[in-house]
Symmetry: C2
Subunit: 267 residues, 2 copies
């Protein structure tokens, strides 16, 4: 089984991805797709007049504060427009796709993390109502049920907390936890770059292979969103996944190319 996580950038080419999925399925491979929708989310948030609020922790790590309005926009973009548009595109390519959020059938259960310490104008403040959580538990029987009956699951955040609240969650982390729970052989992360690069402005600086035991020393090359993908790769390997592949989601045969080591391979 291969878990493919596709980033939410606008230049991701879903036609190429669909074509690759079809040929992998025809070769007997079982696939589970996870997708993002970050650019769409930001567009909708601006149109709705509630742009994302970024907060900074005392240690300097920035993250998005999710109140009810932000959570609704998350649902609109990820579970609404992006998920169903991708499912329809896959269906039009002959793939029997079925879209789910982490809420459905408790697919992704998360430990809620309502408290967050933030640093504002030199002062610390405790936020107590952040609608976010970290996925810990996966309804693997639901995934198996769908796969055994010929459906390709197309999954995205949000998740559901243990007390049944909808919570924003990191798709990259959830992908890793799900891959571990499903005993998947491989995880492929596709995004708008050729792989993990030493210098994002130098296309020849792609790091071809990373040994899982020395992974920490490569974290410094991960900028912005890429940091969470590298953390996802690390988590997936910890949970027993053989190899994690980073690859370019804009090119032809994006999954096959990644699996052939044309991006970055973690193992």
């Amino acid at each position: 089984m291969i878990i493919v996580k596709v980033g939410g950038g606008k230049t991701i080419n879903w036609e190429y991805i669909c074509s690759d999925i079809t040929s992998l399925i025809n070769h007997g491979e079982k696939l589970v797709i996870v997708h993002g929708a970050s650019e769409l989310r930001d567009e909708i948030a601006i149109k709705m007049g509630v742009p994302s609020q970024t907060v900074t922790s005392p240690s300097g790590i920035s993250s998005v504060y999710t109140d009810q309005a932000a959570l609704d926009i998350f649902l609109m973009s990820y579970a609404g427009v992006a998920n169903k548009t991708i499912v329809a595109q896959m269906q039009s390519n002959g793939i029997n796709a079925l879209g789910l959020s982490g809420v459905d059938g408790r697919l992704w259960e998360a430990q809620a993390k309502p408290n967050m310490m933030v640093q504002e104008e030199g002062k610390k403040r405790l936020i107590r109502d952040n609608r976010t959580g970290r996925v810990e538990k996966v309804n693997v029987s639901l995934i198996h049920l769908l796969l055994e009956n010929g459906y390709v699951p197309v999954i995205s955040a949000p998740a559901i907390s243990y007390d049944s609240q909808i919570v924003n969650t990191d798709n990259d982390w959830a992908t890793a936890v799900m891959a571990g729970a499903l005993c998947a052989k491989s995880v492929v992360y596709l995004f708008e770059a050729q792989g993990l690069m030493k210098d994002i402005h130098d296309s020849s600086s792609v790091i071809p292979t990373i040994d899982k035991n020395g992974l920490d020393s490569f974290m410094k090359f991960a900028q912005g969103r890429m940091k969470k993908k590298v953390m996802g790769a690390q988590k997936a390997l910890e949970l027993g996944v053989d190899s994690v592949y980073f690859g370019d989601g804009r090119i032809e045969h994006p999954i096959s190319n990644a699996l052939q080591g044309k991006g970055t391979v973690f193992s």
Copy 2:
């Protein structure tokens, strides 16, 4: 099997509905839920700056024109916020709900209806790009698969056309077609009224029973959205459903009360 269609009004009480679903399931009943989100859709459309465009046919029937922007808002509200919020609320009530749109697994397949003749300032005009369709075919094996494995399907529009485009569709009609395809015994339509009323301002004017052979003569009492529900009831009976129940979605035990004939019973 009972199909319960719940309208998209803001005063619908989902706590009462969840409690009723739980007791019906505990009595061995199989349930499929369909929901609307019309009021939420209108709110989001206004916030997004693209209010619904109503057009009128030469015979005077008004309907919503669905372009890409309207379809996206449909996905945001129905498949995004409403569907996942209802699923989470059901999960918090111990119901193992799983949300799907008609697009997922080709659950609701529709004949696209892109052409619509409209009357504008005394002139007729043909619209050729209306993103709408009428559901004709249902993936019954998917519903059975979920029910047999303990999930309660929670379904809403949009649907998918035969050529795999996402299309806006009438939930009430789709509910009827699905009930027929599933050979359901009963269909319950819950909304913000006590039943089909002769006079919507007179609560004592609820019509208790309607014989399916004389149904046409009651169509005149159906105003606005209610017309589509009565057409749904008629279609469901035509397709072999035993009885259709109209009931109040704002009161305690809304489904049980409707099934006990406290609203309007079509049979």
